[in-house]
């Protein structure tokens, strides 16, 4: 499964990179027909430049939209790979089925949200590493114009990628967790109600024979332990889901670095050297590699069918 995830991320990164490169090629073509500074070849500037043909602008928008789609698809594929293949089974009442479906839907939302964030981070890192490799492979004594173009292209790629990732991260919202919390609260409310009912029942046992009271109290004790087990499991799950918040906090910390990398790339577009481009990429990789390498620590818990049933207090018979 990990191999498949790696493979999907690699493919997603490749597609995103190709889309950005196509966008950059369009931008570089604009340079041949429109009087424009290199630093204005970035998508944002092209889109507001009145001299740029609207078809070019439409293509730029389409490329940007495609990048969004590719990121979303990567996250979706990764999420689908990690999904528990076992379909809910058993003889469930409509209420149980509804609750199970709600939980499943919320869990998928969480996974997809988190997967999107993780994919963005991973793809960013992978593309930057590939840019660095390409720069290092450039022949040192090659054609100067070709080299200058290659550096410009790479700087544009650094800029566009950093800009895209920045926007993604700034606008990111984790969804699904609140829905799971709502389900937990629902379960907890039922547990509380059941506990109260048992307390009242325990009081009534004072009026019955010692033998019957002992049997009933034993059952009440069993139920109490069972409830404690459910609460414990929920606590474990919520603790792990809440750790995605820590990841978001970590993401917040890298935003200023990304912003500097992006702006640095723009400012250096007109004065490019191999050294500065390499440095740019190194800075970018450093700013995010720690986060990317720690992604597995935030891996979401596997919630299999059995665990879902325990959490939802469902009596599920295989069938």
């Amino acid at each position: 499964m990990a191999v498949e995830r790696e493979s999907l991320l690699a493919q997603g990164a490749e597609f995103v990179k190709s889309e950005l490169l196509a966008q950059i090629d369009d931008a570089l073509q604009v340079r041949s027909s429109v009087e424009i500074r290199e630093s204005d070849l970035i998508a944002d500037s092209l889109l507001v430049n009145k001299s740029v043909h609207r078809e070019v602008k439409a293509r730029v928008r389409e490329r940007q939209e495609n990048v969004r789609k590719l990121i979303a698809a990567t996250a979706y594929y990764v999420e689908a790979e990690g999904r528990n293949a076992a379909a809910p089974s058993g003889d469930l009442t409509p209420l149980q089925r509804g609750r199970l479906d709600k939980f499943r839907a919320a869990e998928r939302e969480v996974r997809l949200s988190f997967g999107t964030l993780a994919s963005v981070v991973e793809i960013y890192k992978r593309i930057h590493l590939s840019i660095r490799d390409e720069i290092e492979r450039l022949p040192p004594n090659g054609d100067r114009r070709a080299r200058a173009n290659a550096y410009l292209k790479n700087a544009l790629l650094v800029y566009e990628l950093s800009d895209f990732v920045l926007r993604q991260l700034q606008s990111f919202e984790m969804s699904g967790i609140d829905d799971i919390r709502a389900i937990r609260d629902e379960i907890f409310a039922e547990i509380k109600q059941g506990r109260k009912a048992d307390e009242e029942l325990a009081k009534k046992t004072r009026q019955v024979s010692q033998e019957q009271a002992a049997a009933v109290l034993r059952e009440i004790d069993d139920r109490s332990k069972f409830r404690a087990g459910i609460i414990r499991k929920w606590d474990e799950i919520m603790k792990r889901l809440d750790s995605t918040g820590d990841f978001q906090d970590e993401v917040e910390k890298i935003l200023p670095g990304l912003e500097v990398t992006r702006d640095n790339a723009r400012n250096r577009m007109q004065l490019l050297t191999l050294a500065t481009t390499t440095m740019l990429v190194d800075e970018a990789v450093r700013s995010i590699s720690g986060l990317a390498s720690s992604l597995p620590e935030w891996e979401l818990p596997r919630i299999d069918e059995r665990l879902v049933c325990e959490l939802l207090n469902l009596d599920l018979h295989d069938g």
Binding site: L8, N66, R68, Y77, R83, G98
Partner: protein, 374 residues
């Protein structure tokens, strides 16, 4: 590397962004209620190409009406509400009743309302979708699209206008036709890639109406709210007169109709100019009127521009020349406040971003309860 084509990635990504759960290509499986994608090749197009005709603009507006109507149905305050814990427990789903080794307990008696309620039964319109060119009646034009009198917003004195209906301060804008524009809601047809979606407005009495959105090919949508959001986002980015990244939202619904807000920019205007508009649609008479200018950007041009709507009635704006906050407030509070008829109530979260200029949010005090944004 995984063996999936880029086209497949784009198809899947497009559907995911629209809130759907597409089926993955053969060889990959998904569990759960993955729906068969209804996306065709055209769904991957994001460009809105061709000449921008009046008819197309009207088609867009008609689509907005459909979206707005659908949103009321799906995003109404009662939709999707979870049953209260006590209600669920009272229904017999006490946790103790599910312990298998223990005797006793009752079985669940009540079902969680997972499905959305069906709309009222009397169909008004919208099953068949004739071409957008049939939208208009002679001598009628919708001012926000291609009216020849349409001009970029500019400073003006207090406007006179007619107030009408129960929507609150309804008045026509200076560049809109005096007569309410008739829009035939039956002609709601979405351009690619949203042509698969169908809107149905139903009305069970003169005082109430409802609407629903569904896929022509696969029936009920798995996540209609997200689909709407995706559809609107796609249209806004591709549309001829709408600022990219702008939002649209229902700001009020009532028995007689609903109001939706949209950020509008005519193609002849400077790129930094956009006007948030409140439009009122009355299904019974099928009329569309402009309600009230949320803000009249009299000094737009190079100083600032509105970039999008956000939650709770805010607009996000961007300032390109980075004036001081005092200047901004002066801009908005002196002229804008006067022109906006007191709607603007706050400026907050101003921050300077090196690449984007100064960003912040404008708060608007709508004279009615905003509904959920999508």
């Amino acid at each position: 590397m995984a063996d999936i084509s880029k086209e497949e990635f784009l198809r899947v990504g497009g559907l995911v962004l629209r809130g759907q759960r597409p089926k993955l290509h053969p060889g990959r499986t998904t569990s759960g209620p993955a729906r068969q994608s209804n996306a065709g090749p055209r769904e991957q197009q994001s460009e809105f190409t061709g000449e921008k005709s009046v008819a197309r603009a009207l088609g867009w507006i008609a689509m907005m009406i459909g979206l707005a109507a659908a949103a009321i149905y799906f995003l109404g305050p009662d939709q999707g509400a979870s049953p209260s814990p006590t209600a669920a427990a009272a229904a017999g789903f006490g946790s103790e009743t599910r312990v298998p080794e223990l005797a006793g307990g009752t079985s669940a008696q009540a079902a969680v309302p997972t499905a959305l309620p069906l709309p009222p039964v009397v169909p008004l319109a919208l099953e068949a979708a004739p071409p957008p060119s049939s939208l208009t009646q002679p001598n009628q034009a919708v001012g926000i699209s291609e009216s020849p009198t349409l001009q970029p917003p500019r400073p003006r004195g207090p406007r006179s206008g007619s107030y009408a209906g129960s929507v609150g301060a309804v008045r026509e804008a200076h560049y809109l036709p005096r007569q309410p524009v008739q829009v035939d809601a039956r002609s709601v047809e979405l351009p690619p890639p949203w042509q698969d979606l169908r809107f149905t407005i139903t009305q069970d009495s003169r005082a109430s109406f409802d609407a629903r959105i569904e896929s022509r090919t696969s029936g009920e949508l798995t996540n209609p709210a997200a689909s709407l959001k995706g559809a609107i986002a796609g249209q806004l980015e591709a549309g001829p007169s709408i600022l990219p990244a702008a939002g649209v939202r229902i700001v009020r619904s009532a028995a007689d109709g609903f109001v939706f807000a949209v950020l509008i920019r005519h193609r002849s205007w400077p790129e930094s100019v956009a006007v948030p508009e409140l439009l009122f649609f009355e299904p019974r008479t099928q009329s569309l009127r402009k309600v009230k200018l949320a803000i009249q950007p009299t000094r737009v041009t190079s100083r600032w521009s509105i970039t999008s709507f956000t939650h709770e009635g805010h607009l996000v704006y961007r300032v390109t020349s980075e004036p001081s906050e005092a200047t901004l407030r002066d801009d908005f509070y002196s002229e804008q406040q006067r022109m906006a008829g007191g709607l603007l109530c706050s400026i907050d979260q101003i921050e300077r971003r090196p690449a984007q200029g100064t960003c912040g949010r404008l708060g608007f005090d709508f004279p009615f309860e905003p509904k959920r944004q999508f």
